[in-house]
């Protein structure tokens, strides 16, 4: 578990090294500005840029799904800035000209003594040690940072609704957010079926002769897809999953259309694959948090990368409120104006 905690901290620590100001992350990247073949010229920089963009999108997905109030955004912004300060204090300070010149002077004295066949002067060795220690020593220990982040996280969570905390708890890092996070199902919305229901609807449409031929391939394809997102299965598990899916698909195909309509939701729920990877992540996460490691709220919402996102979000929330909408293109709804309301005449009905 220590590894997990360390990983969490390292992830959090990785970001602030390049921090100069809050907006740095949103500035256009040099490689893009110059229009160079960046991947060839500066691969590490491009990789770093891709990682940064992925991190931003991940934060944005969660922030979008939380429907934060302006008050909550302000609190998060303040907390994220405090977290940034904490993390910077835990990182070794950057190059300090005074310390470097002291180090250079000590090294020069040592080199000169050695060239002359003498022992390195003790004073110089001591000065060198001190200079290097000062340059490398973080102002805070990892444990102090963990503790500080945990306190900030508690403060943030105290201002969130239980439902928002549930969204964070179940959130999976992603570039394309799941539908309920991106665009929650609306009241009265008909076309909101989940992937398994949509799959079943397509499977019942496959003509019998094609199904006979293609069923094993279709089942394998589904399993392949599931494994990609929900964890690998061993051979025995694959065989079990194959049998369960095939049985479910056959059950759907054997139903009358109306029965399928009434039962497809229950059937889909029954044959849905468990998300083993996510379950394990959730379990590890709760163990780590129980041991005092920063939780998901700290790792994502207090990431210094989130600071410009909150600033932009606040701006948007303030501007979005009650901005009049241009209705020029909106045409009036059809209606029955002259008392004769028929939509058509059916010659068969006369």
């Amino acid at each position: 578990m220590k590894v997990l905690r360390l990983f969490a901290l390292m992830t959090a620590l990785a970001a602030p090294a390049a921090l100069a100001d809050d907006e740095e992350y949103l500035k256009p990247k040099k490689a893009q500005e110059e229009g160079s073949v960046a991947g060839v010229r500066d691969l590490p920089a491009l990789e770093k840029e891709v990682r940064a963009l992925r991190a931003d999108i991940n934060i944005l997905n969660l922030v979008n799904g939380l429907h934060l109030t302006p008050h909550q955004v302000v609190h998060l912004l303040r907390s994220a800035r405090e977290a940034k300060d904490l993390l910077e204090e835990a990182a070794p300070p950057g190059p300090d000209p005074k310390a470097l010149s002291r180090e250079a002077r000590a090294l020069e004295e040592i080199r000169r003594a050695m060239l002359d066949g003498k022992e390195a002067p003790e004073d110089s060795l001591r000065d060198l040690g001190n200079a290097r220690a000062r340059r490398r020593a973080p102002r805070r220990t990892g444990a102090e940072v963990e503790k500080g982040l945990a306190a900030l996280e508690d403060g943030v969570e105290a201002g969130l609704l239980p439902t928002q905390k549930e969204v964070i708890r179940t959130y999976k890092a992603c570039l394309v957010p799941p539908k309920d996070l991106r665009d929650p199902v609306r009241v009265g919305q008909a076309n909101d079926a989940g992937p398994m229901i949509r799959l079943l609807e397509r499977i019942v449409e496959v003509p019998a002769d094609r199904w006979e031929k293609e069923a094993p391939r279709i089942v394998d394809r589904v399993i392949e897809e599931e494994q990609e997102h929900r964890g690998r299965l061993n051979e025995v598990e694959q065989a079990e999953r194959r049998a369960a899916l095939r049985a479910g698909f056959e059950e759907a195909r054997a139903m009358e259309a109306a029965d399928f309509g009434m039962r497809k939701d229950a059937l889909a729920e029954r044959i849905e694959a468990p998300d083993r990877v996510h379950d394990i992540v959730l379990e590890l996460q709760s163990i780590a948090e129980a041991q005092g490691a920063p939780g998901k709220t700290a790792r994502i919402l207090l990431d210094p990368r989130a600071i410009p996102i909150y600033q932009r979000r606040l701006e948007m929330l303030r501007n979005a409120a009650r901005t009049p909408v241009d209705l020029d293109g909106v045409k009036e709804a059809d209606s029955c104006k002259d008392g004769h309301c028929a939509v058509r005449k059916d010659p068969q009905g006369q």
Partner: protein, 376 residues
């Protein structure tokens, strides 16, 4: 069978069948098969006038359409079939599925329970923002339909232990004969019915529905006749009258208003609506403000800012309404049911999922205040 012959025979059979109580029709195993083209056998409409010159007048909705022979009504389901007013929307749903009852939306009606939802194509409104326009703005004959007689729908719910039947997604007013039969049968089998409707319906047929439908989620689209005319193609007055009819019937009622930026988000008008709501429907009738998402003919408009919905909620609470919800935005504190007396969170929802409920027999466990609704 030739299509014309099928329609005539079906109309005759329908007339005979309509005279029987729903339960008896089931005993006689009266099934209404779909024609080859998916068209349902036309079902006779009770609320209509048949004129000597062959025209008919539909008395189901406030449009009171007068139809020449062969003409199909504005709602796209009822028609003049050889001088008889019939409905082509009966037993031929285009949508059948199970949903949480919260999706209706009903927050005070058996929370957390499932409902078997049924919808047939057609609608007597023309809302520019209709999110189910493919079904609602089509005639049943143009959709892919299932064959589902009332007894089968009820049996499906009973078999799966689903306690509710729900008429939603399109407009139940346009298939009210089917609703009436399913709800009647369901009631006999211990399955209750709820409907999501725009309530553009005449009082007489509506009262019939209220006798068998236990819960209504009524969309009050806005609070001006101009909005109704321009955005929905109808009028406000009949909807207000229908809301009062539902309330007076004793069926459970919740009201939803979709807030569209600029079109109906004027706070003075929201205030007026809330005042009317309190006076006509009572402070305990829940009101939902739903977020608009670009759809159909308003695809270019932006989503409703959450702050606008929050403003609406504040206005409603300030006007004394006790249960005001925000829909289509989650998580949000406006999704929760709070005790109006002590403020305790009684039901916490994340979308249509109930995360926690502390209601005890429909009462607040803290101060014992009874919360209006249907809880068991």
């Amino acid at each position: 069978m030739h299509r014309r012959g099928f329609l005539a025979a079906a109309a005759r059979a329908g007339l005979a069948a309509a005279a029987l109580p729903a339960a008896l029709r089931v005993l006689l195993d009266f099934e209404r098969a779909l024609a080859d083209d998916g068209r349902a056998a036309p079902f006779p409409v009770k609320h209509g006038e048949h004129w000597e010159d062959g025209r008919v007048r539909c008395l189901v909705c406030p449009m009171l359409c007068v139809l020449e022979k062969g003409e199909v009504c504005f709602c796209r389901t009822r028609m003049n079939l050889g001088g008889r007013l019939v409905n082509n929307a009966y037993g031929n749903p285009c949508i059948v599925r199970t949903d949480p009852v919260e999706k209706t939306p009903l927050n005070h009606f058996l929370p957390g329970r499932k409902a078997l939802s049924v919808a047939i194509g057609g609608c007597n409104l023309r809302c520019l923002y209709c999110q189910n326009w493919r079904e609602a703005q089509s005639e049943p004959k143009d959709l892919r339909n299932l064959e589902l007689p009332p007894w089968k729908a009820v049996q499906g719910a009973v078999d799966q232990e689903i306690p509710l039947l729900c008429f939603t997604y399109t407009e139940p007013v346009v298939f009210s004969e089917y609703v009436l039969d399913i709800a009647t049968l369901g009631r006999e089998r211990g399955v209750r019915s709820v409907a999501a409707t725009s309530a553009y319906m005449e009082p007489a047929p509506l009262k019939e529905l209220c006798a068998v439908v236990s819960g209504f989620a009524v969309a009050l689209k806005g609070f001006s006749d101009d909005f109704y005319r321009r955005v929905c193609g109808q009028r406000l007055g009949p909807v207000l009258k229908a809301l009062e009819t539902v309330k007076a019937s004793g069926s459970w009622l919740e009201v939803t208003t979709l807030v569209v930026p600029t079109l109906n988000d004027d706070m003075a008008q929201v205030k007026e609506q809330c005042r009317w709501h309190r006076k006509a429907l009572g402070a305990d009738t829940p009101l939902h403000f739903a977020r608009f998402v670009p759809e159909h003919k308003l695809a270019e408009l932006p989503r409703t800012p959450v702050s606008t919905l929050e403003d609406c909620r504040k206005v409603a609470l300030d006007e004394g309404l006790r249960f005001v919800y925000l829909s289509n935005v989650a998580p949000h504190e406006g999704n929760r049911t709070l005790c109006p007396k002590c403020g305790k969170v009684l039901v916490d929802r994340l979308g249509f999922r109930i995360l926690a409920s502390s209601l005890e027999n429909g009462a607040c466990p803290g101060c014992r205040t009874r919360i209006p609704g249907v809880w068991a």
